[in-house]
Subunit: 215 residues, 2 copies
DNA sequence: CGGCTAATGTACGAACTGGTTCGTTAGTAG
DNA sequence: CTACTAACGAACCAGTTCGTACATTAGCCG
């Protein structure tokens, strides 16, 4: 039981300070949008000062881009971890769709950042070198599933992987992205646990039913 | 060919001034978000001055709420104009879905405002008396179609009108709401005319295929 | 045609906000 | 132990932004 100082006992720790700024900034940008986010507010919620944001990131915009990059990295990693070996095509696409649904409904901040970025016509996304060249593993995965489905004659063949990904994403994103307007107008919280489970099944059924329909 | 002064020759016209402010404000808010929109900019794009925005609307937030109300009124009216008499249930739901798709892809400003409003957790929507109590005609329409479909034994019965509306909306909203991030990441503009027609058909097929699947 | 009021324009100010300047200190290499 | 540098903090600044006070006038009503 020695009293060794824990790693973060260092008063000055570049890595930790940067990580803390990114964490707080992610919340702030997701919460208030790019224009609505306040650099001073981010600094205040950190153990450090505004000075360090400019020291490490250069400015509000560069910080926002880093936040975006980190958020997208999260979903890329989740996608790469998906394994559908041993599943028949219908089971495979359902599995992938429902994992996508789970990921989105569990990462509202990410969805909010994407919405915000679309309001800005993806101008920051375009500026990011990391994200521009990063591949999209999920497309390859879907391509493989679709190919198998067609070989076996169980899937239609007039829709490609990107289209199917869009179909899945649409239904996985909507309850999160439009939770509040939808909830207000229809008096029904789309993320209520029971409803969420129902939508999860709906999504799987929907994608499989669509793909099985003759073209 | 008399030289009668046209109606808008009046230098002072309350109705016209208010309408012009609302038009410009809609564009500005949809373009830059609530926090990003500038009252001075809205005024500058109008034939009148900032003074009048405060005179007629009271402030930035009330103006934004009016903009929201007008945008929602547009889609309400479109929904009320939908007529599916004479169509069998599958045809009817496909028709409605594709009209929804058309409306959304043609009204990007509305979709952007909805995204923005969700970032703000629908707090302005909640403040609007007009919108809070306004009904949602489309739900009744869908209810009727679903009921007929079930009577005829062609539709599953574990999904209600609001759920089906959400399914339709998801796929109709996504290409517009996420046009830029999706386009950037997958190198494919989801609103490209050819693609748009393909997605329109996909949506119809998808909803019908889903509803026909046994529960 | 006189006067009353809705409608309008100008100029300004207080608070906010992104970014910077200047100086300080913790940690470590030698 | 010393000296050097990466890491840091406080105060400040210039430009912006929502909102308002004050002055003015178009258009209508009797």
């Amino acid at each position: 039981m020695s009293d060794q100082p824990p790693k973060n006992s260092r008063l000055r720790d570049a890595v930790r300070t940067q990580a803390e700024i990114l964490d707080v900034a992610t919340r702030e940008f997701a919460e208030r949008g790019y224009a609505g986010a306040r650099v001073d507010e981010i600094a205040a919620l950190t153990r450090t000062t505004k000075r360090m944001i400019y020291y490490y990131f250069g400015g509000k915009e560069q910080l926002y881009i880093k936040v975006l990059e980190r958020a997208y990295t999260g979903i890329r990693e989740a996608e790469q971890a998906v394994d559908v070996t041993g599943l028949d095509p219908a089971e495979a696409i359902r599995h992938l769709a429902q994992l996508t649904f789970d990921h989105h409904t569990e990462h509202a901040d990410f969805i909010r950042l994407v919405s915000i970025e679309n309001i800005h016509r993806a101008e920051h996304l375009a500026k990011s070198e990391t994200l521009a060249k990063a591949g999209t593993p999920v497309i390859d995965l879907i391509s493989g599933i679709l190919a198998r489905g067609r070989e076996q004659g169980v899937f239609r063949d007039d829709t490609d992987a990107v289209d199917v990904h869009m179909m899945i994403s649409s239904f996985a994103v909507f309850p999160v992205a439009n939770q509040h307007t939808f909830g207000t107008l229809f008096g029904r919280d789309p993320l209520d646990p029971a409803r969420r489970a129902h939508y999860r099944r709906m999504l799987g059924d929907m994608v499989v039913a669509y793909l099985r329909t003759g073209s």
